[in-house]
Structure formats: structure tokens, C-alpha cells
Symmetry: C2
Subunit: 333 residues, 2 copies
């Protein structure tokens, strides 16, 4: 049925060893022999069994990817970046999620022991950071994509959050907005503190230190962003801009401002963070700090592959630059 290396060897009149050698372009093989074997391989449409190769070689040429959820707005971009890079290198990508609690985590770790993949790209592990650290200590190459700004003992890629916050501040200042409301994410996240620092630092330097009453913690959701704005307005606070720590919260803020009869951006300019696909489709379209999600995926994958193939001293971590995407929610028409 299936064409095996033995078939190729027999038909080409050489040993399996020789076929293997031309397959892996390792060791010296006579030019004519190589050409002939190649021809037979081609003719038979022979492709080595990945299972057998993996078993014999002790590695699967497969990368694992663990994500908490596949339906988050920016996950598609990350995934695309990882898949493209991994495929390019001739590796496979085994996908796992850990959204069903202990159960899925257990299932996942057993896959690790099963040597189903050689290394792992993990995205923002919720409660699994300790587990990943343990796997890494036991020898599994791991690269983390972490928007939360934690800094584990193994390589990770993140966005330049502080710089992103600073850029948002500079953009608002260039529009003469001196009294911004900050709808922050959960303060336990390192990325949130970084965005806050970068933003506040620029305002302070410019002689407009943030009003502490205008820095509120929220939860990265649309509902949370809306609620924060409504609450502040209800307290009679005034502000001429909103810096939301992610786009969903910014979209919630947009709706709340509109409901309160405020015009965006005339009365209040709004800037988000992430640049998820729907940021360009809101009304008004949302100005935001772009996180290079796809590039983060590509980078993480490349770091992992470098580790697996032994080239390059991967070790280090990376923070990718962000950029402000200007749309109508800050500059009008």
C-alpha cells in the first residue's frame, strides 16, 4: 500500500541507508547514485513517514502551541504569525487550548511527556505559568508570548508597553489634550503598570501630571470601559481625552461618551491599545496603539525554532515596538 523507504531502496537497487542519506543530504553519496535515487523517490511519490522519522530521530519536527482561548480578538494574528513561521521551517504545529481547567491542562502535559512536539510557544498562560516553568526546567524548550508583562525565567516576547503608553501621551498632547482619563487594565498586570508609567511620565514631563482621580482600574472589557466612563461622568469629573488600555475598553468608552451626549473627538478624544480588527470599523474609527501581534507570533516561533535547531543563542527576550494608528476618534475628519 504505502510506499516505504524499503520500496525506494529495492527499486533503486541500493540500500535503505543510501536512500536515507540522499533524503537527509548528509554523508557523501555518489552524484549519479543520488540522482537516480532522487528520480525513484519522485516517481514513486515517496514521502518519509513522519512518525517513523520522529521515532528514529527522537524528535518530531513539530512545535506545540498552547493558547488560553482562540476567540480573543487578536489571537488570530498571533496564530497566523506562528503558523507561517513554523510551516516555513518545515515544522508542524500542534495546537492546544487550556480553557477547560485542570482537565485540559492534564491532557496537555501528558502530550508533553508523549513527546508529541519538540518545543512550545505559549500565549498568556492564565494559571499555567508555574506549570510551564516546570516543563521548561525539565528540558522542554518554551517561548512565551505575554501581553501581561510577566517576566518568567524563560524567553518571552512582548510589546514595548511603556513606549506605547508614552506614544499615546505624545499623540494626545500634540492635540492639546491636557486632562486625560486613563481607563487602565488590571493593575496586577505588568503591562498595565508599564503603559501607565509611560503615559504618566510624558504628561508629567510636559507639565501636566495625571490627576489621580482620573486614573481608574478596569478589566479590559467593553462593559468595564463603558462603566468607568459613566462613573466618572456621574461624579462630575471633566476630561478632554480617554486613554483606554485596550481597544475593547475604548469601544465601551466610545459608547458611553456618545450616550452622555459628548462628541468624539471634539469634546473627548479617545485612544485605545491593541489595534484589533474592529478598531477600524467603529464610529468614529478608533485611534489606537498598535501591537504587532503577528510579528510577535513570528518572533516567538523563530526564537523557538532557533533553540530547536541549535542555531543562535536564543536565551534572551524581546519587546517589539508599538506604533500609534491615528483614526477619527482623536483627529476628527
Amino acid at each position: 500500500m504505502r510506499v516505504t523507504i524499503a520500496d525506494v531502496a529495492r527499486i533503486a537497487g541500493v540500500s535503505k541507508t543510501t536512500v536515507s542519506r540522499v533524503l537527509n543530504t548528509r554523508g557523501e553519496v555518489d552524484h549519479a547514485t543520488r540522482a537516480h535515487v532522487r528520480e525513484v523517490i519522485e516517481r514513486l511519490g515517496y514521502v518519509p513517514s513522519s512518525g517513523a522519522v520522529g521515532l528514529a530521530r527522537g524528535s518530531s519536527r513539530t512545535v506545540g502551541m498552547l493558547v488560553p482561548s482562540l476567540t480573543w480578538p487578536w489571537m488570530g494574528e498571533v496564530l497566523q504569525g506562528v503558523v507561517d513561521t513554523v510551516e516555513e521551517a518545515g515544522f508542524g504545529l500542534l495546537l492546544f487550548t487550556c480553557n477547560r481547567g485542570t482537565d485540559s491542562v492534564a491532557r496537555f502535559t501528558s502530550q508533553v511527556s508523549a513527546r508529541a512536539f519538540d518545543g512550545l510557544v505559549a500565549v498568556e498562560p492564565e494559571d499555567t505559568l508555574a506549570m510551564l516553568a516546570a516543563l521548561h526546567r525539565r528540558g522542554l524548550p518554551v517561548v512565551l508570548i505575554d501581553d501581561r508583562g510577566r517576566h518568567p525565567e524563560f524567553p518571552h516576547v512582548t510589546a514595548a508597553n511603556r513606549e506605547g503608553g508614552a506614544a499615546a501621551a505624545r499623540h494626545l498632547l500634540s492635540l492639546e489634550r491636557h486632562r486625560p482619563l486613563v481607563v487602565a487594565g488590571p493593575l496586577r498586570f505588568g503591562c498595565v503598570r508599564d503603559r501607565l508609567d509611560g503615559f504618566g511620565g510624558v504628561y508629567a514631563e510636559d507639565g501636566h501630571p495625571l490627576d489621580p482621580a482620573l486614573v481608574v482600574e478596569s478589566d479590559f472589557t467593553e462593559a468595564g470601559g463603558g462603566a468607568a466612563v459613566r462613573r466618572l461622568l456621574g461624579e462630575g469629573r471633566t476630561f478632554d481625552a480617554v486613554f483606554a488600555h485596550n481597544d475593547l475598553a475604548a469601544i465601551g468608552a466610545l459608547a458611553a461618551l456618545r450616550a452622555a451626549g459628548l462628541r468624539v473627538p471634539e469634546d473627548v478624544a479617545v485612544i485605545g491599545f491593541d489595534d484589533i480588527p474592529m478598531a477600524g470599523l467603529t464610529h468614529p474609527a478608533l485611534t489606537t496603539v498598535h501591537q504587532p501581534m503577528r510579528k510577535m507570533g513570528e518572533t516567538a516561533a523563530r526564537m523557538l525554532l532557533a533553540q530547536l535547531t541549535g542555531e543562535g543563542l536564543s536565551g534572551s527576550s524581546v519587546a517589539l515596538p508599538t506604533s500609534v494608528v491615528v483614526r477619527q476618534s482623536t483627529v476628527g475628519f
Copy 2:
């Protein structure tokens, strides 16, 4: 280093055969023996090597998934449905994309020959339908998730497009909208024709046959949806509703109507199709025909798994019911 079945056998004082038997709960094993072996497995933290099992058994307990792109708005839901189902069954999920042309297709087909996975879930193959058909003919179990409404020779799951179109019509009619504009998708797609038929059928039955001038072909994009509305308005056409064949086009229509000074839903009600995540976040929030993307993923995965494990006569195809999600773009406040 690695714990193998031989280690377990040695320490438990039994043969590898016996260990294998308790592992696979097949064949009769003495109760006490079984318990003892189980205990040793537990203690050693033994997990069978997936590669070796695959080689010996001739199957990998892995499912392949081929998608054209990971960044489409509804892809995350489909993927989540597939992954959940596949993981639940103890299978792995190998992810492939075919967005880089012939190159990635070639890479993918060689993975098929490599027996890296036992069966395939494919999403809306752009130009790869023929290739998939060939693989299927050669014996690869394939299930297609196809929103385009093609009906290949192998099992596929789709949404009930005709019924969805009819439901949209009934909803608009219940709101006394008798003169709808239809912003259709590309007419070469079966799903588009089905949505059109269902929609037009209900209107005709109700004594309000569609005005052919108000049925325009578009391209499923936001820009296309906006352009269609602008063009019709420019021609001086009047309509009291828009049925867009997907949400992106509906979002474009929303913006074009607003730009023209028309109120939604007072002057023109708008209904889309898909129910992508951002449908609930537009202003006004978009009424739309919900396609059960996650469920489509789950169903396709289940059909494939049934085929792989030999249970159930999978053969047939499935059309999953849609439902109208009513939001402000048709009913106001």
C-alpha cells in the same frame, strides 16, 4: 532518561505485552496484575511515546486542520469548536494554512503522505477543493466546513443559508419593511444564492416581490457594502431596509447610510449575516443572522472522529440552523 514501556515492564515484573494491554484496556488481564502495573505507571509518570504508538498502530490519533486564513473574523470560533472536540476525544490537532499559494499547498500534501494525521477538517478551501477531493479519493477521511455552499463528494457541514435568508425576511417584514435593499455576496457562491432565494421567497409570498434593481452583488467586504449603498442612494433609489449577506458588508452599509444622513433603524433598518464578534459593538449594534460557527467546528470534528474511530456511519452532510439576533440596527431602543 525517558521512561519507556520497557522500564515499566521491568519494574512491574511483567512483559511489555502486559503493560501494553493494561494501557489499552484490551485483552484479559488479571485484576491484581492490572492494578499493580497501573500503580507502577503512575509512580514512574509513564506516558507512551505518541510517535512510537503511531508507528506501531499505523495511526497517529491526530487530526489535521486546513484553513485559508486564521485572521478572518469568525475563524476563531470555528477553530475553538474543532479543538475542543478533538482534545475531548484525546486526539491532537495539527494546524495548516494555505495562504501562501502553491508552496504551502505542496507542503501540506506532503504532510498527508507523511501520515502526520489520520483525517482532515478543511475550511472553505479557496482553490484547493480539487486537491482535497483527490486526497479524499486516495483514502484520507475529510470533512469540509463550507460557508460557500459548495457540495463536494465528501461530508461537509454548512449553515442553513436558505432558512437564514428567510428568517431575515420575516424579521424585516414584522417591522413593516416592504422595500429592502439586498447587498448580496458574490453570486457564484451557493450560499449567496441560497440566502437570496430564502429571502426573496418570503417577500414574494408576502406579496412584496423583491425589486430587481434593489438586489446588488457585492464582495463580502466592508468597503463593498458601503459602496453598494452609496451607489444605490446616488441613483436615487429608495429602500427602508438593507439585508447584507455578511456582517462586514452590513457594517459598511451602516457607515454609508450614516454618511448620507439616514437614520438606522428609523429610516433604514439593517440586518447582516454571520454574527461576528464585532456585530454587537457597532453603533447601532447590528441585528444579524447568527451562524453557529463554533458548533459547525464541533460538528465537523465529531463527524471526522466518528469516521476515524469507525463508529457511526458518517457519510452524510449537515446544515446547521441559524437564528436571528435582534439588536438596535433594526429595532431601535
